[in-house]
Amino acid sequence: MSTPGPATGIAKGERLLRVEDLEVAFTTEEGVVQAVDGVSFELSAGEVLAVVGESGSGKSVTAMTLMGLTRSPNARFSGTAHYKDQELVNASEDELRRVRGAEIAMIFQDPMTSLNPVLKIGDQIAEQIQEHQALPDAQARERTIELLERVGIPRARDRLDSYPFEFSGGMRQRVMIALALSCDPSVLIADEPTTALDVTIQAQILQRIHELREETGAGVILVTHDLGVVADIADRIAVMYAGRIIEEGTLDQIFYDPQHPYTWGLLGSITRVDKPRPERLPAIRGLPPSLANRPEGCHFRPRCPHEFPKCTEVPPLESRVEGQPNHRDRCWLPVDEKREKREVRPGEIGLPDKEEAPAA
């Protein structure tokens, strides 16, 4: 167990995850909140799928539902999610427990609060190892040290007996990554792994995730609200808005040929150092809809400067661009109009400012 290798039991390119029509709703005081509204996607071994969206878009709920972490008395699910041949949405607790940690592992957003403050980190990692593999204590300890070294924690042998509060934020996130990798999972879900960290640490963590994907061949779902973060490591991107995937495609397709106005807005709001400074920071006008009370038809319609009457009909997620069968989106606009409208300034993709909204 000394050299990292591909996770046991997966072949390169093998399809690991297939999510079909996933719906998640929560009953609250204010009514039924539809957090996830018909989401479908696939993940193959060795690829990084970035799920991008604002808070409230449903991206975290989707990710956590795959591991059954959103189950509660007031939650309703429909649709399926298959990990290899194990269905997850309706699986029993026992079945889920076998998958958690061992097959699908998660790195959470906030490393400050995601580790038990009163247990040593060595114990917390060994705990997961011994849950899934019956190893004697000494061996589990050795394996833990290996993992900590692998994620770049110096003097790992000494730090085994340290408590979480003795680490910095970046270090703690590395511990979380070590924890996630401890049982060689085939799927790694990273839920906003860098949001709570300094910008300088962000790059390091992402780099680590990238390298580990290379080493282990696992499939990675990277959930984030920051398009800039995904530019280096994502293979495919799924953009979510108000519970639906509104566009998905390869990295190049999304960055260079985006088909949905929301995506244009996201791209346009990335501040660029290689372009002249804009007078105002571009932002998408308006606010995301309340998930208890969503607009009819296309969810983005009220904020979209390009909306027209057909938008009151829900646009299905399908491929509309010739020659790009895997590039899907939910926008009724004809493709050539899209390519025209998305350039607010020559060579710059984005949404027009309020004052510049076109008549019609």
């Binding site: 929560f26 609250t28 005081e29 956590m64 972490l69 959103t70 189950r71 509660s72 007031n74």
Partner: protein, 317 residues
């Protein structure tokens, strides 16, 4: 809809809590009506004795207190509805008057506790530094006394000679002695959470905004911070009243609270202790009254806390 209206609506929907509050108000109402009851129903006051008298029960003349000292028990009649005690006094009348005293003490003491705890908590939390250190250390020392013992110490010391500090002079058997004692004893209990909240509120932006506007400290404390403390104050206040009723009962039972001949629920229980086996109603009935009062307050307090709690009931696992 503002947060207060929202909370009020949530509270109203909690039928158990509202029923509880109603029960408490009915109890208070009955006790307040004590003089009416004494005059029109029972025909005697709380201290009027009748050790040798007789009344008609089922047409027969019966001793209120039998020659060997056993008083009459409860029954469905206008006089001595809950029976009599060994001096021939009407238990029901004493219960209602005692309730007036006990509830009055409990409530007024809570006001004192709230006022002083909020004042010291605000000062300690807002000003910090030496003010905070003095107040917090003072609280710690006060809190080192077991509440009951502290109250007993004060109660006995003051019952003998009354309170004479400067211009304030209170008689040893006045109701204000237990009120002040119980009020003071719970200040640390209430003051600490207030101080904690003030500490975190002080860091919020609206305080910075107020300072930038040139508002003075007093105005900030009372105008900006205090309104945000209201929900804590309300919930704690309800709990404190409930605890006060229990503490007062304990003190009066021991003789360090409301001094006889003024009736009090605790005092009534202690009066009946020696006859617990022959006339259990003397000690058992006032306890039921206490339990009703305290339980209704606790249930309502729970409902109040749930209604004011901003945390949504949705908890993602």
């Amino acid at each position: 809809m503002g947060p207060w209206e929202l909370a009020w609506r949530r509270l109203k929907r909690n039928r158990v809590a509202m029923a509880s509050l109603a029960v408490f108000f009915v109890l208070v109402g009955c006790c307040l009506a004590a003089p009416l009851y004494a005059e029109h129903v029972a025909g005697r006051g709380p201290t009027s004795t009748n050790a040798t008298g007789t009344i008609k029960v089922d047409g027969k003349k019966t001793f209120v207190v039998t020659p060997d000292g056993t008083p009459i028990g409860p029954g469905f009649r206008k006089q001595y509805f809950l029976g009599a005690d060994s001096l021939g006094r009407d238990v029901m009348v004493r219960l209602l008057y005692g309730g007036r005293n006990s509830l009055f003490v409990g409530f007024m003491a809570a006001l004192i506790t709230a006022a002083l705890a909020v004042a010291t908590g605000l000062a300690a939390g807002y000003f910090g530094g030496w003010t905070d250190r003095i107040i917090s250390n003072g609280n710690d020392i006060l809190w080192s006394f077991p509440v009951l013992l502290f109250a007993i110490a004060l109660g006995t010391a003051l019952a003998l000679g009354g309170l004479n500090i400067g211009p304030i002079s209170v008689q040893g058997d006045s109701l204000w002695i237990p009120i002040i004692i119980i009020g003071v004893v719970y200040i640390p209990y209430f003051g600490r959470p207030i101080r904690g909240q003030v500490l975190s509120l002080r860091e919020k932006e609206f305080v910075d905004a107020a300072v930038a506007q040139g508002m003075g400290s007093t105005r900030i404390m009372f105008g900006e911070i205090l309104p945000n403390l209201m929900s804590t104050i309300l919930v704690f206040g309800t709990l404190i009243i409930a605890n006060n009723i229990l503490l007062e009962a304990a003190l009066s039972f021991l003789g360090a609270g409301i001094q006889p001949p003024e009736p009090s629920w605790g005092g009534l229980i202690s009066d009946g202790v020696n006859q617990i086996y022959t006339s259990p109603h003397l000690s058992l009935v006032p306890g039921v009254a206490i339990v009703i009062a305290v339980l209704s307050l606790n249930v309502f307090g729970d409902g109040l806390r749930d209604a004011l709690d901003p945390r949504a009931k949705v908890r993602l696992r």
